[in-house]
Subunit: 111 residues, 2 copies
Amino acid sequence: MRRDVFQAIADPTRREIISLIAHQSLNVNAVAGNFDVSRTAIYKHVKILTECGLIVIKKQGRERFYEAQLEKLHEISDWVEQYRQFWNARLDALENYLNETRPREKKPGKR
Amino acid sequence: MRRDVFQAIADPTRREIISLIAHQSLNVNAVAGNFDVSRTAIYKHVKILTECGLIVIKKQGRERFYEAQLEKLHEISDWVEQYRQFWNARLDALENYLNETRPREKKPGKR
DNA sequence: CTATTTTGCAACCAAAAGGTTTCATTTTAT
DNA sequence: ATAAAATGAAACCTTTTGGTTGCAAAATAG
């Protein structure tokens, strides 16, 4: 089964889980309390998140605390950033176009 | 059907399509030539990419050229960046730990 | 005009995804 | 020693995903 970070964060529930445990470690029931799906459904989402390294599980007695470990997000960041020049280029082109078609508005000063 | 950028870039084929047309506009057949799936399969991937705004289609005679429009990637960037502090914090903690446990290596200077 | 290209899309299919209920196991609390 | 709590995972179900073949329509080439 495909288990990469891109696929892991594609699901909105998993993104919410990340946002929950980023601030404090929680166990399954605590996480599940924030959603209207079953504990098992959350358990499976968390399994996917651990399998791709975004979460680690800390055992404490009969409880398992989920702890965010978000370094792997750099894969996403790196991928997106390689394209930043492309979308900036488009925005620059738009800006130039506007400057050329309305050349007499020299500055955004008071009207 | 869910049609957000997160889901769009989750598929590796779609990420490859983006990387292909980021550099030059191509039509379906040209794109499909780079993969071992059918033209229709690519057509459907591109449909998803246009539906979420990452690609625009320029009509030219009987051909349709796919053009990358990657501004929407900022949604991904924004989401990831909000967590950068978390993973940096962890890396900093690791660094501090190493510095504390090996305090006599004052500087990385010549040995 | 007719043949060829290029595209759009319906119909269909297998596998993956996301969810549920159910039950066993491990720990803790009384 | 029991009851309760927390978790792991199997079995099952429905919808979505990613892919296919086949065919019709639009535009171009000869």
